[in-house]
């Protein structure tokens, strides 16, 4: 007996919503999914008419669906936004060059302007070159830190008012878990916010319109909409520790599908005790980017790369910052510790 759609009670259901367990037909699922993202945008007051919004596009499923939805909702509900695609080329051959092709196809499809900023032009290093120097450990630290800043720099070049990223509910929940496992109370408090407060100059506010969308539903949406996306894992990401958190989250979801939302709810309602030391936001003395230290992470990482001491930015070496700023050399003992381990 065919199951009927629980929404229209008319057509045959083709899928069971991972989020709620309801059986829906294709049209009702599209409508519900789009409507939810729309309501999230409206409820959180993410955009104002006339704003220029950059969509961080990697070519993966989340950003492809995000670009599609933003275009669709902007037209359907007259947000009055000017949309652009913004991509970062990390310089990973065999991975990013392929996914950027997807972004370029999306650009034509959605008729949106596209800007690609590359690590090479910003930092003088491609990820391929970085991995060559430091090996397959810690490389994600470089990539992650550089990407955050690259997006901001690209956004400033494009003069956009806001960036939206494709982070979905699973990503947010996973980050909550990660921050607990790492004991990072400052990030734990921030990570569930749907948008960053305008953090000062040089930083473009970001938001996550897909914050409450399940990863599985994003895939379902892309599948039924026949959206074109690139679905290969990065060739440099072994990323063992985050993998534990991810597996744990998927296991939780299989026990109780609402777990993902439950974790986000937990994160949103955490209150941090007064008197707990929190990092204070300042600016980097070298590049002017936001930083809680005298040097921002990406300057430290870059300095390490350029000095041939890649471990400089891995772990905490705050006491070295002053000397780096003044271009002073490090002692031999310190240098030995910060060189990459040879296998």
């Amino acid at each position: 007996m065919p199951v009927l759609c629980s929404n229209c009670v008319d057509k045959r259901a083709v899928l069971k919503r991972p989020k709620t367990g309801h059986s829906l037909c294709k049209a009702c699922f599209f409508w519900a999914f789009e409507e939810e993202v729309h309501l999230t945008i409206v409820a959180a007051n993410l955009f104002k008419p006339g704003e220029i919004v950059g969509i961080a596009a990697s070519g993966g499923k989340d950003s492809t669906v995000l670009a599609h939805l933003m275009k669709l909702l902007n037209e359907r509900y007259n947000y009055g936004l000017e949309l652009m695609l913004l991509s970062v080329d990390e310089g990973i051959s065999g991975y990013r060059d392929d996914s950027l092709e997807t972004v370029k196809r999306n650009q034509q499809q959605y008729e949106l302007p596209l800007k690609i900023v590359s690590y090479e032009e910003l930092y003088g290093w491609t990820m391929d070159a970085i991995v060559k120097q430091i090996g397959l450990k810690n490389n994600c630290t470089f990539c992650g830190v550089f990407r955050r800043q690259a997006l901001d720099r690209g956004a400033i070049m494009l003069k956009v008012d806001k960036i939206c990223t494709g982070h979905n509910a699973d990503d947010v929940a996973e980050t909550v878990l990660m921050n607990i496992l790492r004991g990072d109370i400052a990030r734990l408090r921030r990570c569930t916010a749907i948008s960053t407060a305008s953090e000062g100059q040089g930083v473009v506010p970001r938001c996550k319109p897909l914050k409450y969308a399940y990863e599985k539903e994003i895939v379902l949406y892309a599948y039924f909409k026949k959206l074109d996306y690139f679905s290969t894992e990065c060739i440099y990401s072994p990323n063992a520790y985050r993998g534990h958190a991810r597996t744990f989250l998927k296991d939780l979801e299989s026990i109780r599908p609402s777990s993902i939302m439950d974790i986000i709810h937990s994160g949103e309602n955490l209150s941090v005790r007064e008197g707990v030391k929190m990092p204070v936001q300042g600016t980097c003395n070298r590049c002017g980017y936001i930083s809680s230290q005298s040097l921002c992470k990406s300057c430290v990482l870059l300095e390490g790369l350029n000095r041939g001491l890649p471990k400089l930015g891995i772990g905490k070496h705050h006491r070295l910052h002053d000397r780096i700023l003044n271009q002073q050399p490090l002692t031999e003992k310190e240098e030995r510790k910060l060189k990459s381990i040879n296998f």
Binding site: T40, I180, G183, L252, S259, D262, I263, H265, S266, G315
Partner: protein
């Protein structure tokens, strides 16, 4: 984010294998007997001193137990709570360095009925623990979980807390106590020899029905935890104790913290995992064992022969993925094996969370969850996970005006409230409890509105039909009805009430 595993590598590689003949790191004389952490080898004597000091330091640091206060130790029979019992014994012994000054009592909640143990098994466990408790000469109480069915509604209402005593008051109280030192040894009360108050079979049956009405093990465990806590608080109240000590250790707490997050209890996290928990007002729950890891406790118990009694729990011998709590436990323990600072890192997070209760007004309890007695976290803010979930549910079902989730396949008959299965039970409850049958249990929808986010999930797992909710103990149902009547009253007179809620 990605360097976490790398951070551990350095120290891990350097950690040498402890040699058998290593000296104690503390006294540097005796041969080490136990390695607590990598590199920290202690001899027997120093380990004992370290262990005992930690307990006293925890109590000394927090200064919440006043001299002469009656403190109830909740002992489950597990290694952690038995170790706690031993620490209190040590602290009260005559040659103790800094003697503890409170009056302890012990309580054991026998959950055998809920777990499905036979009467003989339960008697055996109780007899074993009886012997353990008797040896301490503390007064003790053996309470079957079935008694939860007869609790008064006041259990789920926050009682007025004794007026806040300032930090200076603590010192004054201590001084006063020392001066008027009346050789304050505990007077061991004459224990009646009955092992366990008789439990009616019908009560055990109702309890099993209640636990069984939750469809998932996750919800069963949550329900059991809630009931156990209610019974502990009630026992403390009726026996005149003002503090309850729980045996949660650091490992246990890390698991609890992570599973609480996964269950949507973020708002209640500080109370669930902090050192002191004053959600019940007059009775404060304390967790003095949180600085010990499960491993340390196991070492101590083994070296100093602390007896423990194994009691089965709901998730004993189930698969990892049988419940969220069980999955979290195996996740944390596996991760701890690879990354030795996992447990302490998670535990430190709990220390940084807000513990203070927001509302101090205790007269009305609109803002307290009916089950866990924590502040409600369901005020539907505009952009929140709670709201987003509600929207998702609304958008994926037909727009019929029926509020509670209709089952898409089988439209339930209108008169589902008293299904044959629940009917008999309902009548019984009416005969010994009073009010029920005609008034019917409050609708599930209303019941849910009295619960926090996480307890709503638990009730949701009890199914959407009315009869399963009716299995809830009478004290919860009648409190729900009382709150409904109060809210109706308030609705009627709303226009005439001056805005007093904002004060205080």
């Amino acid at each position: 984010m990605c360097q976490v595993d790398e951070d551990y590598h350095g120290p891990l590689q350097r950690a040498e294998v402890p040699s058998v003949s290593k000296k104690c790191v503390k006294c540097k004389e005796a041969t080490a007997a136990v390695v607590i952490r990598a590199g920290d080898a202690y001899c027997r004597g120093c380990f004992k001193e370290y262990f005992i000091h930690k307990f006293r330091a925890m109590l000394g640091k927090n200064r919440v137990i006043f001299p002469g206060e009656k403190v109830l130790l909740a002992v489950s029979g597990g290694p952690s709570s038995c170790s706690m019992l031993r620490q209190v014994q040590e602290g009260l012994s005559h040659n103790a360095h800094k003697k503890l000054r409170f009056l302890p009592g012990v309580v054991f909640i026998d959950e055998g009925g809920a777990v499905g143990q036979s009467v003989e098994e339960r008697q055996r466990t109780v007899a074993e623990l009886h012997a353990v408790f008797k040896a301490t000469s503390f007064p003790f109480h053996m309470v079957p979980l079935e008694q939860v069915l007869d609790l008064p509604s006041s259990v789920v209402v926050t009682a007025a807390s004794p007026s806040e005593r300032a930090a200076s008051a603590y010192k004054a109280a201590v001084d006063h106590f020392i001066q008027s030192d009346t050789t304050s040894c505990v007077t061991p009360r004459q224990q009646e020899e009955t092992l366990l108050p008789d439990v009616q079979e019908s009560h055990t049956h109702s309890l099993q029905q209640l636990i069984g009405s939750a469809k998932t093990l996750t919800a069963k465990e949550e329900l059991l935890n809630t009931l156990r806590q209610h019974l502990l608080v009630h026992t403390a109240r009726t026996e005149g104790y003002s503090k309850v000590m729980l045996g949660d250790n650091c490992t246990r707490l890390a698991v609890k913290l992570l599973s609480s997050i996964s269950l949507g209890r973020g708002a209640q996290l500080a109370q669930d995992t902090g050192f002191s928990d004053s959600r019940y007002g007059d009775i404060m729950l304390l967790r003095p064992m949180t600085e010990y890891s499960a491993k340390e406790i196991a070492y101590y118990n083994r070296m100093f022969r602390v007896p423990a009694v194994f009691t089965a729990s709901l998730d004993t011998r189930t698969a990892d993925k049988s419940s969220i709590q069980h999955l979290t436990e195996s996740f944390v323990i596996k991760l701890q094996a690879d990354f030795p600072s996992t447990v302490s890192t998670i535990y430190r997070t709990s220390e940084k969370l807000q513990t203070a209760c927001r509302s101090s007004s205790t007269e009305e309890c609109w803002d307290r969850c009916l089950l866990c007695v924590c502040a409600l976290d369901t005020a539907a803010e505009n952009a929140s996970a709670f709201k987003a979930t509600l929207i998702s549910e609304q958008l994926s079902q037909s727009k019929s005006p029926k509020a509670t989730r209709p089952n898409p396949e089988s439209t339930a008959p209108a008169g589902q409230c008293c299904s044959p299965a629940g009917g008999g039970d309902c009548g019984k409850a009416a005969s010994d409890g009073g009010c029920c049958s005609s008034a019917k249990a409050p609708e599930t929808a209303h019941l849910r509105s009295l619960l926090c986010y996480s307890c709503q999930l638990t009730i949701k797992d009890m199914g959407s039909n009315q009869s399963s909710v009716e299995h809830l103990p009478q004290y919860i149902l009648s409190e729900a009805q009382r709150r409904r009547r109060r809210s109706q009253m308030r609705q009627e007179i709303r226009d005439f009430l001056l805005d007093e809620a904002d004060e205080g």
